[in-house]
């Protein structure tokens, strides 16, 4: 066995993914310190991190568990709002900003996880497109409910209101309205940093990859590949489906909190169906079940509209065309075989059999 093969054996796929993330973080950090990054791109760094976490977590549901979810932004929303409320309420208790951010992310993650658990129980009984439409429905319901929510803070603690104006919270004079119904949260402490986003990505990768490569992960994938066969060898369906779904929701909550604390205001309508779709596009373009692919796709597709800025009005149109062309090029039988055939023609050797797989 030569050295190259031995190195290949050692460097497994998850190691490469970690390495890719760490190296790109170092490069971006170096570039940012030397002014090599435009200010618009600098503003995109934290959103990119949040979208990467969203894409990786959605990949757990769609790629690994094999259930289409169209409401992932709902969990992001729950995480964002609960995380920000926690951070604002703890403003006096915890002085250290990174620690406060971490607590905010954890609380956001826990709240989204609880939401994921409550939603997962009914949703995961359904299959296929029906499951997809119910996740869509829950996403819209979450958006609607948060739109009606008012939360205020004063000396007596948190005050909650629903479908009422902020004045109905009966706050003390020194109190502060945190969530103001459809107006959302304003004056958010902007605690999120690129480093925090990077750490969150690493944590997400650690959680997802260890889950996928564990006994539970194999059970989840067995359910995806053949539910009936998996059930017949004694894999508890609900338990493992919920495990994947709740993990996915939890990570999305943390991403939401990170995302929200990058902006000074946030409203519930930001996390609409379109956001869920945006993240689904990252997952599908990156390759179902392919974690590294999700990271690359989320990054590139967030940067792409920025890079197309010189085309001004046409950029979203070009984005749409690129999206359609990429899907056609990667999935059409005639086009998919093209590179192999060209290679075969160049080397004058018989074309290898096209790989049959679910990736794509």
């Amino acid at each position: 066995m030569n050295i190259l093969q031995r190195v290949k054996g050692l460097v497994n796929k998850s190691f490469l993914t970690y390495a890719m993330v760490i190296v790109s973080f170092v490069i971006v950090q170096l570039l940012a310190n030397n002014g090599g990054i435009s200010s618009t791109l600098r503003g995109q760094l934290v959103p990119i991190c949040a979208y990467v976490v969203m894409a990786v977590s959605l990949n757990l549901t769609v790629g690994v568990l094999g259930e289409l979810s169209l409401g992932h932004a709902g969990f992001m929303s729950v995480g964002a709002f609960s995380g920000v409320v926690a951070c604002i309420s703890l403003g006096d208790t915890i002085a250290s900003e990174p620690l406060r951010l971490a607590v905010g992310l954890i609380i956001g993650a826990i709240c989204a996880g609880i939401a994921g658990f409550l939603i997962g129980i009914p949703v995961l009984r359904l299959r296929g497109d029906y499951l997809a439409i119910v996740t869509l429905a829950f996403g819209e319901i979450i958006k609607n409910l948060i739109n009606c929510l008012t939360i205020g803070l004063d000396g007596g603690g948190l005050h909650f209101g629903f479908l009422s104006s902020a004045s109905a919270l009966n706050l003390e004079p020194d109190g502060r309205v945190i969530i103001n119904g459809p107006m959302g949260i304003s004056n958010i402490p902007r605690l999120s940093t690129f480093t925090a986003g990077f750490v969150l990505i690493l944590v997400t990768l650690f959680v997802v990859m260890n889950l996928v490569n564990s006994r539970s992960g194999r059970a989840i994938m067995a359910l995806r590949d053949n539910r009936i066969a998996a059930e017949s060898v004694g894999i508890p369906v609900t338990k493992y489906k919920l495990m994947a779904f709740v993990t996915s929701a939890t990570l999305a909550g943390a991403a939401g909190a990170l995302y929200a604390m990058n902006f000074s205001t946030i409203v519930a309508t930001k996390f609409s169906f379109n956001t869920s779709i945006l993240i689904l596009v990252y997952v599908v373009l990156g390759g179902l079940g392919n974690i590294a692919g999700s990271i690359v796709a989320a990054t590139l597709l967030t940067v792409l509209p920025e890079m197309l800025r010189q085309f001004n009005d046409y950029r979203m149109l070009i984005y749409a065309i690129v999206l359609i062309l990429v899907m056609l090029a990667t999935n059409n039988e005639t086009l998919k075989g093209l590179p192999t055939r060209i290679r075969a023609w160049v080397t004058r050797s018989p074309a290898p059999q096209a790989e049959v797989g679910i990736d794509g």
Binding site: I141, L163, V281, L317, Y319, N331
Partner: protein, 293 residues
């Protein structure tokens, strides 16, 4: 009396949802894909009718027919260019392509017609009909929506059950391979479904904008999602199901707005959908397919 007027506005909104839902459900039945661009075809239909009527001062009926032609052409073109090459691809890939088409249509509309909302003139006029000594007033748009819905429903039922093309459609949605072996041209049949669905979308777009007169490039997306929900609600793939689902959804939405809360009306609609799907996982009229082990 307010109950009756809410009921009528619910049915008329529901009729519009039902017409849109028909497009979703027929395409799903035959191509097994969620055509997310359908909502944007509605928007294109409304815009074409708007411009033909306001710019060229054409009569209403010409505007409507022309809008239907534009949408039919658009629907068939989309199917040829974007969906046909992916016939054998995984469902998710087709879904993302449909989303790409939806983005494309929205942004093309944004470039062509700008984001300034257009005020759509009602095609049915504004003189509302007074009944029961003036206590109950019905807008002509509502009547027109309900009437169009009934006509479309009857026509489609006749078409799918009695004509050669309709039978071919049902055969293709049952089993594409077997249909092809029986000599049915599957590609033409699928194009036909997209053509019908898109023409219906044009009608729905015009009715929708007559009832709610603001027209923007994103006008179609929310009604699109709601109609898609309605199609699932009634059992996706089933034509009467789409009708029932659409009308129920419209009634629930208007009643939710009127009696519970305006802000929560969307949440109520989706909550009812979830409850229905939990009780009947394949929708109201959906076929429950036995699983083979």
């Amino acid at each position: 009396m307010s109950f009756l007027s809410h009921l009528i506005s619910g049915i008329s909104l529901g009729s519009i949802y039902a017409i849109i839902a028909l497009g979703y459900t027929m395409v799903y039945g035959i191509a097994k894909m969620l055509n997310f661009a359908h909502g944007d075809v509605i928007m294109v239909g409304a815009y074409s009718c708007f411009f033909l009527m306001s710019r060229f001062h054409l009569p209403v009926i010409v505007g409507v027919v022309a809008a239907m032609l534009v949408c039919t052409l658009l629907g068939v073109t989309i199917e040829r260019l974007a969906y046909k090459p992916l016939r054998a691809a995984p469902a998710l890939a087709v879904l993302i392509t449909a989303i790409g088409v939806s983005y494309f249509l929205q942004n093309a509309a944004l470039l062509l017609w700008t984001s300034n909302p257009k005020v759509f003139p009602s095609i049915a006029g504004n003189t509302s009909i007074k009944l029961l000594g003036g206590q109950l007033s019905i807008s002509p748009t509502a009547l027109l929506s309900i009437a169009s819905c009934i006509v479309i429903m009857v026509a489609l039922t006749w078409f799918t059950s009695s004509t050669r093309m309709g039978k071919a459609m049902r055969a293709c949605s049952e089993d594409k391979g077997a249909a092809q072996l029986m000599g049915i041209n599957v590609n033409v049949t699928i194009s036909m479904v997209f053509a019908i669905g898109s023409a219906l979308a044009a009608i729905a777009g015009i009715l929708l904008c007559s009832a709610y007169p603001t027209l923007t490039p994103t006008t179609g997306s929310m009604p699109g999602i709601k109609a898609f929900t309605a199609a699932v609600f009634g059992g996706i793939g089933s034509i009467p199901g789409a009708m029932i689902g659409g009308i129920l959804l419209g009634i629930i939405e208007i009643f939710g707005k009127a009696y519970i809360s305006t802000q929560l009306s969307d949440a109520i609609v989706f909550l009812v959908l979830i409850i229905v799907l939990l009780v009947r996982p394949a929708g109201i009229l959906g076929k429950t397919v036995q699983e083979k082990v």
